[in-house]
Symmetry: C2
Subunit: 242 residues, 2 copies
Amino acid sequence: METPLHTAAERPGMPAATSAPTDPHRPDAKPRRRAGRPPAAVLDQDGITEAALRLIRKSGYDGFTMAALARTLNVAPSALYNHVSSKRVVLVLVEDHLTSLVDVSAFEAEPWDQAVRDWAWSYRDVFSKHTPLIPVIAVLPVTDAPKTLAMYEAVSTGFSRAGFPQERIISAIVALESFIFGSAYDVTAPADIFDSGTMAESTPNFTSAVDRLAEKGYEKPADVAFSLGLEALIAGFGALRK
Amino acid sequence: METPLHTAAERPGMPAATSAPTDPHRPDAKPRRRAGRPPAAVLDQDGITEAALRLIRKSGYDGFTMAALARTLNVAPSALYNHVSSKRVVLVLVEDHLTSLVDVSAFEAEPWDQAVRDWAWSYRDVFSKHTPLIPVIAVLPVTDAPKTLAMYEAVSTGFSRAGFPQERIISAIVALESFIFGSAYDVTAPADIFDSGTMAESTPNFTSAVDRLAEKGYEKPADVAFSLGLEALIAGFGALRK
DNA sequence: ACCACTAAATGAATGACGTTCATTTAGTAG
DNA sequence: CTACTAAATGAACGTCATTCATTTAGTGGT
């Protein structure tokens, strides 16, 4: 982020250019600049990405609109389109940034199985707070997301070093990723998602299984399921190594 | 403003009271009925669900709007809201119907591992054509989707009969489902999703792994990854049985 | 048989939201 | 100095989901 970002304090002349162009409803907040190219660029992709992330953290993906994003940047919505061609591109920028937060360091320091475990939990935790991005990532060409590509490289290298047959590496990573994405949704599910309510009588086996899980449930159900599946995948894939 | 706003059709004069109320652009197609409750109900939830499914098949989820849905039913968009409270409810109806297409019959006829295999492939295949529903399903209380609940019952029963410890059944199913949902996205990914383009030099291990997979690739990559992961899960979970 | 109530349709309006475009201003290359 | 281009503003636009007033028809109660 090499954003020069003036502090908005450059009020040039007399204060009395007067009476901000700001009326809208209640608050002050935006005496924006006048039309025309500003002396120093206000926006760039990094700044937009940061602002998007802040906005998403604060207001969620529902509150994440181009208008709201523009507002936090003190800019007209249309200004964004000088730097990104669509909202989808902003989402890709956010996605790529988030991927850089996924911890792949264990592939340098730990044995393969532990490295996969650490990476997978980290990956799931990052995206469980950003499930609306999953449909975007899942079909995103890696070319469009350099940091995501870097993660794949780190993981591939780990698999390679662990003695994985080359032609299985991608398939194994894809399978793990699929499980991780699906599990990320699971984290966000409501606690009573499996409460069968009035229909409980017609589903005795399911209802009983749900009850039995709940009895022993100090751990979060999503974590139990994730651990169970992840360990099975690690064990199964571990057997493929030469 | 509760402006009574004349109906624009009040042209007092003469000509034919006739001449369908249909002008819109090109085609005939909709000489709809006049205002007011029709003698026989035109809409119900089943009809809406069917029409939604047809529309989605024909136009995809992009073309699936409440207006388009209303058009195929020869009804005003607002009429839909007498039967469903939101578009989301329509999606839930569609989801529930699709789940009834998932084949659980193997749990009655095959050994546990083969039953899981058949069910999982069927489940993935159904929803790989409906990935926009996945965010809906993943957090949908089972109470709201009776056919989905029925599927869970069938699967739970299969696990129970196979000697699974009760308190692990739900976790195992959730893990499988997570993998299935993630894999459904994978099916829709573009073929060149892993083409690292100009960045190939900086990602040698990843690029090599991608190439090696492509060499041996008569099977669809998504199917290879799904099979690999599914077999690992089945093997791992199979060991939990008593 | 009448009457109140409710159900189910129309059609007009509303308010977001993503996006485009004409316009303005300012830096930059020849 | 002069084009050209980059980066803002602000006013549209088109699309959607959704709401509301209105109209008509079936229904249950007396």
